[in-house]
């Protein structure tokens, strides 16, 4: 009946999509953390070295 091939095909597709979504969400979360850290750093540097009038 070759049912194992049918399930293997669907498993491959769903595993592939799942891995991509997980990696994308991790990338997105890391970038959002980077944005927060960098914003804090910009504020910190600006308060130490205020721009000249």
């Amino acid at each position: 009946m070759h049912l194992s091939y049918l399930f293997a095909a669907f498993l491959v597709v769903w595993l592939g999509v799942l891995l991509y979504v997980v990696s994308l969400s991790r990338r997105h979360r890391d970038l959002e953390n980077d944005v927060e850290d960098l914003r804090a750093l910009v504020e910190q540097r600006r308060s130490r070295n205020p721009p000249q009038p």
Binding site: M1, A9, Y20, L24, L31, L38, V42, R45
Partner: protein, 234 residues
């Protein structure tokens, strides 16, 4: 940077979920078995559904790469990169499901049929596209070179589409002809195929939106890094 949540952000994931559930129900329960191939033919619905996003994605890469080369606006480059990444994902899954279908039907995982070979070349072109971007020491130069590759890759996309007509191979040619003839004799088979195509195309659109947003965020991080250096030097 808080991403804006639009109506599309609320509707598209729901539509993806619903159409996927419908596709699974149709493929595993509702659709009848093929008289010749048996249940293995059901792989075909998901296999074919991988190629609509693949062709759309690589087509988008071609158009947006051309726009980037012409206007040099970063937003086109973001869409091209996101689309290439997703095209490669769906192309990989299409090749994998094709191999899994071929083993019980053709008796081999792979054969050097013209369409299969050209599809493998297509996969390599866009893998090279992404490698070029990640390995380039100068991001701007990398983006320009990748854009040139992205535009030229469209030629291969056309060859993949025409391969079954121009060269003799064993890959099936068309599912439904212009005259309405089809290997899918049962109306439920046609409906299953349409629902699968819709489900995976919606998934592609949703992932493309998320990936483009990530690309914008990457740019924002670079801007902030430059601001940190500027603030340090002020």
């Amino acid at each position: 940077m808080t991403p804006r949540t639009s109506t599309a952000d609320r509707i598209v994931p729901g539509a993806v979920g619903l159409s996927m559930v419908a596709a699974l129900y149709l493929v595993f329960i509702a659709v009848p078995n093929d008289a010749v191939q048996g249940p293995v033919q059901r792989i075909f619905y998901v296999h074919l559904a991988m190629w609509l996003p693949t062709f759309a994605a690589f087509g988008i890469v071609g158009i947006t790469s051309l726009l980037f080369l012409w206007k040099r606006e970063r937003r086109w480059d973001h869409i091209a990169t996101a689309s290439a990444e997703l095209g490669l994902l769906f192309c990989t899954l299409g090749l994998a499901t094709g191999c899994i279908w071929a083993k019980p039907i053709w008796g081999t995982w792979w054969t050097w049929d013209p369409r299969l070979t050209l599809t493998l070349v297509l996969w390599m072109i866009y893998a090279a596209y992404l490698l070029l971007r990640s390995l380039a020491t100068d991001p701007n130069q990398g983006a320009v070179m990748a854009a040139i590759l992205g535009v030229s890759g469209v030629v291969n996309l056309y060859l993949v589409n025409r391969a079954v007509y121009w060269w003799r191979g064993i890959h099936p040619a068309v599912v439904v002809t212009k005259e309405g003839e089809s290997g899918l004799t049962d109306p439920m088979m046609r409906l299953t195929l349409m629902v699968c195509l819709l489900a995976f195309f919606l998934l592609f659109l949703w992932l493309l939106r998320l990936r483009v947003r990530t690309a914008h965020l990457e740019d924002h991080v670079e801007e902030l890094r430059a601001e940190v250096l500027e603030a340090a030097g002020a």
